[in-house]
């Protein structure tokens, strides 16, 4: 459990990276720089 606690504590500070990644991907899609993403 301490391992999970430490990882999640680090995870909270990863919020900003997650938001940044999402916006970079959104921008790439907006500028048609990556092909359509399929599911």
């Amino acid at each position: 459990m301490p391992e999970a606690t430490a990882a999640l504590r680090r995870g909270i500070s990863l919020d900003v990276y997650a938001v940044t990644l999402a916006f970079v991907l959104a921008l790439l899609i907006r500028l048609n720089l990556i092909p359509p993403v399929r599911w």
């Binding site: 909270i12 990863l14 919020d15 997650a18 959104a26 899609i29 993403v37």
Partner: protein, 362 residues
Amino acid sequence: MATAIAQPVSSSSTGLLRRILELVPGLLLLAAVGEAGKLIEQSIAGYTKSHHLTFPNIEYVLWAIVIGLIIANTIGVPRLFKPGVLTYEFWLKAGIVLLGSRFLLGDVLHLGGISLLLVVVALTLSIAFMHLLGRTFRLKPKLTSLLAVGSSICGVSAIIAAQPAIDADDEDASYAIAAILALGAISLFTFPLIGHGLHLSDKAYGLWAGLAVDNTAEATAAGALYSDAAQKVAVLAKTTRNALIGFVVLAYAIYWASRGQAHAVGNKAAFLWRKFPKFVLGFLLISLLATLGFFAKPQLTSLANLSRWAFLFTFAGVGLRTNLRELGRQGWRPFAVGAIGEVFIALVTLALVYSADRYLHL
């Protein structure tokens, strides 16, 4: 001199590269488990369709979680894979931000406003009830505080945020996290069954899952197991709940400081900002951009699909990080308090959702 300066830069970039490489095996495992879940769903759907059989569609979400659970609790997740597996929270947050593109800001404000109202009522009742339970089961007061924060706000993240603020022991935090994780796993399987049993609409069920299921990953999965529309609402309601984390933790920090059992809170605005989940702002901003027509329709489809891929990694991680043996070793009392509290919260929020459906027109 030049060598002396170049050395740390070189070693820090090597360190970063090594940390990124350490994530690769776990990320591949997440992708493999998620893909296997998708493959099973598609195979069953294809087989039943070609044989004209009537069989309920079991979403990839459930398969991915079950495969992850089986791996984690039989052979275990080897150390090599752990750093990558633990990134599932990162994918969850990125997925939620991207999901914002599927909401018009007006819907966010309408449903988010209703959620906020219900969250405040549920929060007050559940915190009071958890403290009553904690006293009845003679749990340590700070452990009770952590369980109350975890079950009423947003699970493990809230416990992690509250632990240093109220100067709680690591052991108490571990107990509370174990109980909340175990209960989250149970909610995942029970909520969709109850929702179907009660014939809840997608919106009502999504709101209920978002208000009652503790961890964001489990709330998202519980919504996805019901329907796509329910998942959207569950994420929105859960995000509203997450946004209140700072206020609740601040209240607890002030309470414990007033009793001389935690350090005093200095700048309260800075404290609130530190604890505020920043991905909520990203979610709102993407929703605003989508509302303003920043993205064309095919681009919105791509964003929605990217969000689904991010959630696929998350759901695989939920199963892989749940070690049932470890959870069982944490003792029955925190689990019992958490479980009784969860049932109470589930009932209260269900009543609130029924009322909102009737009087506030979801």
